[in-house]
Subunit: 121 residues, 2 copies
DNA sequence: CAATTACATCAACTTTAGTTTATATATAAT
DNA sequence: ATTATATATAAACTAAAGTTGATGTAATTG
């Protein structure tokens, strides 16, 4: 996918904005965006193909994070993230926060790697 | 139109590349790209709406040129134009050159403003 | 090893973008 | 005035991108 086309979609920009704060697995993003999983996977694939994100597979999970290995893409990423209004992603952040909260046990954070279930865990 | 979507189309990039060398009227671009006129007008409208080009109307003609009034767009324009392989536009340049030649009378250039006909002139 | 979870992928469908042919409009030439 | 030129726009069509629901696969748990 064309590098600019990849940035021309609101859903994809929201994903990038979520990843700005660090690596997330697919079901984190699904929950944050409140979208069905194949839809999210579709956009993740587009972003990955365009070189904006990379993945790290571990067990059942695929973790996605921003890929800043290319200078031009990194510049575009920064520009895009900076230009995006905070209110466009505040709900996503809220859902993600609540969900990640639910992933912790009694306030103590349990890394995804050590957990048995991710979604609904 | 979204600023990135505007840059996600090859035809539009070819137009930007042509305009890199200066202002052109629609029929110049139509000839250079060897496309039908409404198609070219469609893409010009997209680029204009995204803020990458501006127009100047004079008589029957509409002259388009790059719009570098916005810093970010200017940066994107430079990046795009620089990254575009020369062979992707060499034929366009050839057709444009031949056509502009035909617009001169006995080797002396006649500005479009002073001409009665543009296309086929 | 049967059931569950996380994710990808596919086929069918919907939506959006791009193309084409025809036509409208404005200016200018005759 | 009539005709021709330059460009825009609209309607019908085609193509590409995005969405959805179903299914496949691999790892994980019980």
């Amino acid at each position: 996918m064309n590098i600019f086309k990849a940035l021309s979609e609101e859903t994809r920009l929201r994903i990038l904005k979520l990843l700005e704060r660090g690596e997330l697995c697919v079901c984190d993003i699904v929950t944050a965006l409140d979208m069905v999983q194949p839809k999210v996977s579709f956009h993740l694939a587009a972003l990955k193909e365009a070189g904006f994100i990379k993945d790290r597979k571990q067990g059942k999970w695929t973790h996605y994070s921003l890929d800043d290995s290319d200078f031009f893409r990194r510049f575009l990423l920064l520009s895009v993230l900076e230009r995006m209004p905070e209110e466009a992603v505040s709900k996503d952040r809220k859902r993600l926060g609540d969900f990640l909260q639910g992933k912790t046990a009694k306030g103590k954070f349990v890394p995804t790697e050590d957990k048995k279930r991710c979604c609904g865990g």
